[in-house]
Each structure stands twice: as C-alpha cells, then as structure tokens.
C-alpha cells in the first residue's frame, strides 16, 4: 500500500515540478532562471561527489578536471564551424573537430563518456591501492587537465579559451539531467552494489573479508561519478558560454567538497538542498563585494569575501555539526507524513528516518 502510494506521490511530484519548471522557463526573469539553472548544475556536482565520497568513502578531488573535460568536449561539439574558426585564430583547429556540430543532448552524453575515459587513466592506478593516494592523484589529474588545456592549442585554443558557445542549457535541461543523475545514483546506492560501496566506506578490510571486490565497487562509483560530473561540466559550459582553463581551477573541487559536506555525506537530498542554498546565498551576498553608497558615505566592497564566509561556514559545519544539513538521511514520503502527523516529536526520530 504505502509503496504504491509513494510511487504515485513521486510521479505526481515530478509532474508538478516539470510543469513548474516549464512555466518558470516561459515567464521567470532570466536572472532568476540562471540562478536556478546554476543550482541544478552545482547539485549535480555535489550529488556525484557524494556518490564517490559520502557513499564509497573515496576522497576524489578531481571534479574540477572532470568538469573541464565535459565542458570542453560539449562546447567543441556544439559550437558551429564558423564560431570555431573565429575562435582559433592563433592556430587552426584540428580538422576532425572543425566541421562537427552536434545537437546538445548527444554532445552532453559524449562529453560524459569522454570524461569517464580520461578519468580512468588516473582512477585505475589510484583506486587499485588502499590508502589516500586517490585524493592527491585526482588533484594532480585536475592540474594535468588544466596544463593540457593551456598547451594543446589546436585542440582547446589554449589559454584564450572558447567564446560564443551556444547557450543551450536551460532550466529544463539542467533539472532534467539532475533528475536523471539522482535517479541513477539513488538506484545504485539502494542496490546490492550500493550496499557493497557503503561497506567499503565503513571498513575496507572487513568488506574484503566478506567477499566484496573493493576495486570493482570503487571504480563503479568513480565511473558514475565522473560521467555525471562531465555532463554537469557540459551544462555549465553551455550556460556561461565562455570557458577558459581558469574556470576549472582546483578551488572548484574544494567548493564541491564544501557543498557536499554541508549537505550531509551520504544524503543526495542534502547535496541538492545545500547546492541550491549555496548558489542562492552566493548571489545574495554579492552586494558585500561591491561598493555600497549611503548618501555621500562610500563603503568599499571586499572582493572575495563571499568565499571567506563560505569557507568559515564549511569549517564550522565540519567541526561542530558533523552531520551537515541532512546527515545521511534522505527525503522520503514516509518521513514527511510522520513529520506532518506529529511535528513536535520529530526530534527523537531524527536519524531513524531513512
């Protein structure tokens, strides 16, 4: 009964959200649309990072690199040949990319696949080992990617970056992709593979003793994670329409770590909420970075202050509120009903609602 009810409720909720998104896309002011789209992209980053870190316990810091690969591949595949020729004025673009122009969706998916292939170069050796090499290897991976982006002039246009990428990303694409990503991740972590991943996270030795193939499950989480991170990168490129290697500095990976930890490690719901709040708050805090005029009094803005606030908040969460927003609990209909039925008793149920 309850399972069927929940399924119906989920379907209704998805329909409602889809209608709302469509309505928003038609009517909402472009600035708000952009913020909401960006929320979905950051949510994808956070969800994918949560899969590898929160569920599998592998500290991968390669998200900036994943996003870069996805972004460049998608951008190069969706730009028109004329745009590409105009962009590559220092050195002509390699011939096999010059005349390709794909629709957005296939370009995104190809971007995701290429990201997986590239990320495996570092993932396979690092994940085969126990220990902490993955963090450094993946951080190094992002740096390699950035160095390659700067140096492979005929392929990536070097430090000049790509301009005039078609603005294909809209609310429906971004949230649709996020929905797809969450669906896959949720099915994965609820499956037997997901249980094995959690056992790897909690105790590698015990998991291996129980017959869990460590490498297989780590690499599975890593592949899914990098695939969707690549897609999110592609969405980002087609949203901001100008990319260069500096966009994908390793601090992007740090931001994603922060978002995920704040949302709660092991909670996809938490990642989405946290990423959306992060995007919105960063916009709300924008005034403190620009000059404020009160009459004749001028208060100079402090550039970079938003990130300081974010990192302080992140440390506070890590040190004093270790579970983050959601801990490892997800949003479920059952929990919602329980909450609605006895709103006062929810404190002693926290943690059990899964």
């Amino acid at each position: 009964m309850a399972a069927k009810r929940n399924l119906y409720l989920t379907l209704v909720a998805i329909t409602v959200v889809a209608i709302l998104l469509w309505f928003a896309q038609e009517n909402l002011n472009p600035y708000y649309q952009r913020i909401l789209t960006l929320s979905a992209i950051y949510s994808m980053f956070a969800v994918t990072f949560n899969l590898i870190f929160g569920y599998t316990g592998q500290f991968s810091l390669g998200h900036a690199g994943f996003a870069a690969v996805g972004a460049y591949v998608t951008a190069l595949l969706t730009m028109s040949p004329a745009q590409k020729v105009a962009n590559f004025f220092l050195q002509p673009i390699v011939p096999f990319l010059r005349d390709v122009e794909l629709p957005f969706l296939p370009a995104l998916l190809i971007g995701g696949f290429v990201t997986v292939l590239v990320s495996l170069i570092v993932g396979v050796p690092a994940l085969r080992l126990r220990g902490d090499y993955l963090a450094i290897a993946t951080l190094g991976f992002s740096e390699i990617i950035r160095v390659l982006l700067v140096n492979l002039q005929p392929l990536t246009n070097g430090a000049l970056g790509l301009k005039g990428i078609p603005s294909n990303t809209n609310l429906l694409y971004a949230w649709g992709m996020l929905g797809f990503c969450v669906f896959v991740c949720k099915r994965l972590v609820d499956s037997s593979y997901g249980r094995a991943m959690k056992s790897v996270r909690d105790d590698e030795v015990a998991a291996e003793a129980l017959g869990v193939n460590l490498f297989k499950h780590k690499i599975l989480a890593y592949i899914v994670s990098s695939f969707f991170a690549g897609i999110a990168g592609g969405l980002l490129a087609n949203l901001i329409s100008t990319i260069d290697p500096k966009v994908f500095y390793y601090t992007l990976a740090y931001q994603i770590v922060g978002i995920t930890v704040m949302g709660g490690m092991g909670s996809l719901t938490g990642s989405i909420i946290s990423a959306s709040l992060y995007t919105i708050f960063l916009e709300l805090l924008r005034p403190i970075e620009s000059q404020i005029n009160i009459g004749s009094l001028q208060i100079p803005g402090i550039p970079g202050m938003r990130m300081v606030i974010f990192s302080v908040l992140l440390l506070v969460v890590i040190l004093f509120y270790r579970k983050g927003l959601m801990g490892d609990t997800e949003f479920t209909w059952d929990a919602l009903f329980r909450f609605l039925r006895k709103p006062k008793g929810r404190n002693d149920q926290e943690g059990k609602v899964a």
Binding site: F53, G57, F59, L61, I121, V122, P125, A126, R128, L129, R130, D132, Y133, A135, I136, A137, L139, G140, F141, E143, I144, V147, L148, V150, N151, R201, V205, A206, Y249, Y250, T251, Y254, Q255, V257, G258, V261, M265, I302, P303, G304, M305, M307, V308, F310, S311, V312, L314, L315, I318, L319, R322
Partner: protein
C-alpha cells in the same frame, strides 16, 4: 649539451629539489603521525612568502629580521590550525579530517585573496641572494647555492631532532602506534603539536626560498609546490623523512633536466610531476624508501 650547461641545469634542479624536499618533510611528518594529507601545508608555504613580502615592503625591515619572524608567524598559524581544526577530529573517521584539511586550505586561500589581494605581487630579493657566482665556467645566481645550503642545514637539524632527541623518539613512537604511545605516558597532543610546528617552520622556510627563486606571489601560489612536494613525499615513501628528501631532490632534478633536454616540452613541465605520480602508483606505490605496511584491523 655542454658540460657547463649540464652543471648549470643540475644545480638548478638540485636547488628546486631542495625546496621540494623541505616542503615534503612537513607533509611526510604529519602523514606519518596522523595519516592525514594536510592540504593546508601548501598554503603555509604561501603564507611564509607573504609575511616576508610585507616585512620587507611595508615595514622596511632587513631580511635577517624578516625571515625569522615570517617563519615564527607561519609556525604559529600551523599550530593554531592543528589545535583548532585537526585535534577535535582526531577520533573521528579519517574522512572528516580530510574534509577539515580541505576546509582549512580553502579558508587560508580565500583569506589571502581578501587580505593580501588577488593580484600577483613582485617579491624583491635581498641583494646577497641576487649576485652572480662563477665557478670555473659555470655561472650561478647566489640564491641557487644558498637554497641548497639552507636545505642541507635544516634537514640535518631535523634528522638530528628525530633520531637523537626525546621528542624525536616520541614522534617515531607515535607514527608506529599512537594509542600505545599515549599509554606509555607520552603526551601525544604535545608531540603532535611539535611535529606540526616543525613542519610549518620548514614550509615557511621553503616558501621564502621559493619566493626568492620564483619572485612572484599570489594567494594560490602554494598549491603547485604543495602538490609537487606531496608527490615527492610519495615518491620517496610517504611517512619517511629520508624518503621525502630523496624524492624531492629526484623530482626537482628530473623536472629541470627534462625541460633542458626537450625544450619543446617546457609547457608541460607542471604536468610532468603528476605523470610520475600515476606511473609510481602503478608500479611501486610504496615509494623508494617506503616499507610495506601490514594493514591493521
């Protein structure tokens, strides 16, 4: 390549390698004791360089006052980080410590952007570091030699502390088994703080000399030396102080020589260290001096 050119490149490589080694020691000490990759270590390198910049440019202090103050301040920051961010998490899963290290690094970088400004700053070398030295036909800038000499002195001091003093013995004991060591009546909090202090001081010294060698400062400058020093530490065998020195030297020399032999590869110089890391993980993950450790359950 002529002999002179070879010697010149070799000296450059050794001096770069000494810098990597100095920074790598801080990583390896912390890792040996806490099993923590201290992502904030690279940012201490950045701090050390910036303190000197402000000491010289704003307060007009002579270098022999500025350098010790910069090292002291950075050490203080290192101790504060350890006490406030890492110590409360010591008994939690290691993954929390990781996140905390990233958080600290992120905070330091962003604070540096706000306080020091995001625009790169030019670092002016003290005169004695900038003169030309001629040995035979090989011309060197004096800082190349001074970096090497400083690194040797500091490393010798460190080896002495670790092998000949009670504090060093306690450190070695903690890296074998933290819990048992605390049962032996050793104040582990005290020792861990000292390890962080030594690591931070070396990072600051490395940062100052880094700024002497590459005289441009920016708030994210600590990342590249930090990452490469970590790779040097892994290369030598993580947790092993000798290994960190050897790994650092090797990485520095190979990096410089590669560019000297294949000038067209110069743009890829920074990617090279990471490629070494990946190969190393494939073939000899324990590093040159590392011992295979049995997994403890």
């Amino acid at each position: 390549m002529t002999f002179e050119a070879f010697m010149q490149n070799l000296m450059n490589g050794v001096s770069l390698g000494s810098l990597y080694a100095m920074i790598a020691i801080g990583y390896t000490m912390v890792y040996g004791i806490l099993r923590l990759i201290n992502f904030a270590h690279g940012d201490l390198v950045m701090l050390g360089a910036y303190w000197v910049f402000y000491g010289v440019a704003i307060f007009q202090l002579p270098w022999w006052v500025t350098f010790p103050i910069a090292i002291l301040l950075t050490t203080l920051v290192g101790i504060i980080i350890e006490r406030s961010a890492y110590k409360p998490l010591r008994n939690y899963p290691r993954i929390n410590l990781f996140a905390a290290a990233v958080g600290v690094s992120f905070l330091l970088e962003n604070l540096a952007i706000v306080i020091f400004g995001g625009r790169p700053k030019a670092f002016s070398r003290p005169g004695f570091l900038d003169s030309q030295i001629k040995i035979g036909n090989v011309t060197l800038v004096s800082y190349t030699l001074i970096i090497i000499v400083t690194a040797i002195i500091l490393c010798a001091l460190l080896i002495y502390i670790i092998n000949r003093t009670k504090v060093g013995m306690a450190m070695r004991a903690i890296s074998k088994d933290l819990e048992t060591t605390s049962l032996m009546g050793i104040n582990i909090n005290h020792i861990i703080t000292i390890a962080f202090a030594i690591g931070s001081a070396l990072a600051a010294a490395g940062g100052i000399l880094w700024a002497v060698k590459f005289p441009q400062l920016n708030p994210l400058m600590g990342m590249a030396p930090g990452l490469k020093a970590f790779i040097a530490a892994v290369l030598g065998g993580i947790g092993n102080v000798w290994g960190a020195m050897i790994g650092g030297l090797l990485l520095g020399v190979v990096e410089i020589m590669l560019v000297a032999l294949f000038p067209t590869m110069a743009g890829y110089r920074d990617a090279f260290a990471y490629a070494i890391l990946i190969l190393l993980l494939l073939f000899k993950p324990t590093g040159i001096m590392g011992e295979v450790q049995a997994e403890k359950v």
